[in-house]
């Protein structure tokens, strides 16, 4: 998994490439946690995300909870496969997906 971050004022875009699973989710969690200070808009760009397992969903859920307190979060460029995971788990109702 590769993580690319881009900050523009208080907007942070995190692009994730590869697999977001048990092995890689802790890295993304650390990366998000250490970057959210002063961020009011978090954009997760999933254009190059191959797939997501429940470990990745947990990271998204905790990011969403944090961003609900300090601003907003949206998930962009979601593939069909990842969207299906969001649908099955009810994450389509939790996340703002664009």
């Amino acid at each position: 998994m590769t993580i690319n971050k881009q900050q523009n004022g208080s907007t942070l875009t995190i692009a994730v490439q590869g697999r977001l699973d048990t092995t890689t989710a802790p890295d993304l969690e650390k990366e998000i946690k250490s970057s959210l200070e002063g961020v009011t808009e978090l954009i997760m760009d999933f254009e190059k995300l191959d797939y997501i397992s429940s470990a990745g969903l947990r990271v998204l859920l905790s990011a969403q909870k944090q961003m609900s307190k300090q601003g907003s979060m949206k998930v962009t460029n979601v593939s069909d496969l990842v969207m299906e995971v969001f649908e099955v788990t009810g994450f389509t109702d939790i996340l703002t997906i664009e």
Partner: protein, 135 residues
């Protein structure tokens, strides 16, 4: 049929995924089904690595089978850890909003939803969990 026995640890997930993907690719498995199987491997091996022998470590045997006629791929995860039937776990409430959601219980649910079949047996001191997917 292919079979691998190794110590059940989180850092073997990627390796096991690669082995299974190699088998699936040789069977011309569609990419979507392959990725769903990859997610299932992640969920199931992570569960065994985290809970089956905790706080100790133990082995897992993973068996891959394919039925030509029905194009059904089966993967069994066999461990000798504490008896655990994940199918008896109630499904999480997927209608709750973010603040009420708990961080867990989604993995098995996801596997149940994306595989065609999921079976559990406890036999001779072993947990045998099998997923099946038509590819």
């Amino acid at each position: 049929m292919k079979e691998w026995t190794f110590e059940a640890t989180i850092d073997r997930i990627t390796w096991l995924t690669d082995q299974v993907n190699e088998a699936l690719e040789s069977l011309n498995c569609p990419m979507k089904a392959q990725m769903q199987i990859d997610v299932a491997i992640d969920e199931l091996l992570a569960n065994i690595a985290s809970y089956a022998y905790a706080p100790n470590k133990g082995d897992v045997t993973v068996r891959f089978d394919f039925d030509e006629e029905s194009r059904m791929a089966s993967i069994s995860f066999i461990d000798t850890g504490v008896p655990y039937d994940p199918l008896r776990k109630p499904d999480p409430d997927v209608t709750l909003q973010a603040q009420e959601r708990e961080v867990g219980g989604l993995g098995i649910f996801l596997v149940k939803k994306t595989m065609d079949d999921m079976l559990y047996a406890r036999k001779d001191g072993r947990n045998i969990l099998t997923i099946r997917k038509r590819i």
